[in-house]
Amino acid sequence: MGRVKERSAWPMKTPRLQRTAFRRMSFSGLALFCCVADLIFQPVIAWSQNTPQSRRDSAPAVGAAAFSFDLKSLDGKPVGLQTFHGKPLVMNFFASWCDPCREEIPLINDLASKASKDGYSVLGIAVEDGRAAVTQYVTEANLVFPIALDLNSSVKRIYRIFGPPATFFIDAQGVIRDIVLGPMTPERARDGLKKAGVFR
């Protein structure tokens, strides 16, 4: 009862002019609050939208920020997009059982062997595959780049990989600059690297 009284009494004590001014202030304050809140919360919202669960409807696109992720490498070390921040990245989704992946892997390996010299990184993400098969594949194909295991298919899903291989060329700022679905060709690789800021 006391709280109701207090609330109803408060405007009564405010003169009309003051109330109007307050209303104006409150509207502009609200607008300001919204702007500030927007500035503060937008990155938080963007980050939350970047989590696997909430990315069902957004597809990775050229010009958009690459989705972040946290995986483990073959030797158990954490691997994420941030691991490669500051350098262009060639991110190749593959599987040991995938025929077109095996066809393109010498080219990806070749890109990886030149990566350090040309200032970019190569990451392989094994999808729908087990550690044992991937380990054997890495040895057999003599792969010279780091491999992450997407054991729960979470990264495959957010990047909308409807079957490997698929390769994303990401620039030093983490923006996707080219996407190659299916086997890579030397021409597409050169083009992708250029778009990602290599060879400038």
Partner: protein, 447 residues
């Protein structure tokens, strides 16, 4: 005060109505299709197959002529290469942490009581091999005397699964298996085997073959084996233009004179449509492949998910498959029927739309009266793959609602179905991180 209260009530009512309307709009369209609903099925509790610490996976189920339910699956080999050097008390934990071996064993077990209890698993492969799982996992068939025939594929010596070999083993009549042998004469060229007992009691093995590597689309090869395991024919080509990475489907009619096979074709433009092939001479030759749906799925990568086919006593051919179609909004699991032996096909019906970017794996089982049971994987709200289930009544129009039958913490994939007059069983692989296990669910029919 009263007016304000009335207004508040009105606003809340409108909002609630709007919410309910939106929720109704968001519900699965496929579940509301058709004029009536076939009843859902009540499955019993989940059971596990295999040993939990050996990562069982890739089950395949089938009823034997004597009514027993059989399952074949793969597990990690427990040979010396996997045994850690730590004391026995620490073996389990350290085993998970160490780099696993790709070597697997194929195991077979049977149940005489509808999957409630199972016989001790029997090892199928005499020597440890890197048995391919998932789409290329072991398959089994039975002779009329319940003799078990199993096929699987193994990668070449370098471990390349795309240049694999087809292995075949059969029961020796003494409780074990005759040592497995390789069927493909040209080494390192064959994958995705299936095995069926033809009505003349010969064993038919089919696979996707790459002995001619250029042009890239693969060939379809068959081999016929006698009931006692003797090779009756060399492997022979019956089709070409196949997608290189997908399971095949097969059905017999006319006492084995007619054989239907389904596979995924790939065109020069990388369009992958599913086709039916028909043989009217017992599998010696097959006619031109007939597309049963022009999905127009253009994909240059490896969508490893093959179609299924089954036939009912009316002679209707039922087919199910996954396609991404011409755009992601058309992606899903589809069904069609041919009522005239593959001359024409009904327009495809969507069984379940793809909920996210994912290749789905579907299978079906058909009763004599034409009831079709479907099981497939799709993503749930939490982006985890789960197993879903649906029934189509013999009228071809009445669908049961979509039922989610798995509750996987990680992912549940690649269901297998087995059907008898009285029972239905679904098995699948669940994975979480680096661990896997096989789940079986059973239901009584005709209740």
């Amino acid at each position: 005060m009263k007016t304000q209260f009335t207004r508040t009530v009105a606003v809340v009512t409108v909002e609630l109505t709007l919410c309910l309307f939106l929720a109704a709009c968001g519900a699965d369209i496929s579940a509301r299709r058709g004029t009536g609903h076939s009843a859902s099925i009540t499955f019993g509790p989940e059971q596990r197959l295999g040993q939990n610490d050996k990562n069982p996976s890739t089950p395949f189920l089938r009823f034997a002529p004597d009514g027993r339910l059989y399952a074949v699956w793969t597990e990690d080999d427990d040979g010396p290469s996997l045994k850690p050097k730590q004391p026995a008390a620490h073996q389990h934990k350290s085993r998970i942490k160490m780099a696993p071996s790709p070597m697997r064993v194929a195991l077979l077990a049977s149940s005489a009581n509808g999957g409630k209890t199972w016989s001790s698993p029997k090892r199928v492969n005499d020597r440890v091999e890197a048995i391919e799982g998932e789409e290329g996992g072991p398959r089994l068939a039975f002779g009329p005397d319940n003799k078990v025939y199993v096929v699987w594929s193994i990668p070449n010596q370098r471990g390349d699964k795309t240049r694999a070999n087809i292995r075949f083993a059969m029961e020796d009549g003494k409780g074990g298996f005759i040592p497995a042998r390789t069927l493909n004469e040209i080494k390192d060229t064959a994958r995705f085997p299936i095995v069926e007992l033809a009505p003349d009691h010969t064993v038919l093995v089919a696979w996707i073959d790459r002995r001619i590597d250029n042009p890239t689309p693969r060939d379809l090869y068959l081999m016929r084996i006698s009931p006692n395991g003797q090779q009756l024919t060399r492997s022979y080509k019956v089709g070409e233009g196949l997608c290189e990475c997908c399971r095949l489907g097969i059905a017999f009619a006319d006492g084995g004179k007619t054989i239907y096979m389904v596979d995924r074709q790939v065109s020069k433009e990388q369009i992958r449509n599913h086709v039916l092939r028909k043989s009217t001479d017992g599998g010696a030759t097959f006619g031109a492949p007939a597309e049963f749906s022009d999905d127009g799925w253009q994909v240059p990568s490896c969508p490893h998910s093959g179609p299924s086919i089954g036939q009912d006593s009316r002679g209707y051919l039922h087919m199910t498959w996954f396609t991404l179609g011409r755009s992601p909004d058309k992606a899903g699991v589809y069904y069609t029927v041919s009522k005239n032996g593959g001359q024409t096909f009904a327009p495809r019906q969507l069984i379940h739309a793809n909920t996210a970017a994912e290749i789905l794996h579907t299978t079906q089982a058909v009763t004599k009266d034409g009831t079709v049971y479907f099981a497939w994987d799709n993503l749930d709200e939490a982006n985890r793959a789960q197993i879903f289930f649906r029934i189509l009544a013999p009228d071809g129009k009445t669908w049961s609602p979509v039922q989610q039958i798995s509750r996987a913490r990680g992912n549940a994939n690649r269901p297998a179905l087995a059907l008898s007059d009285k029972e239905l069983h679904v098995a699948w692989t669940e994975t979480e991180g680096e661990e896997s296990w096989v789940v079986l669910k059973s239901a009584a029919l005709g209740q």
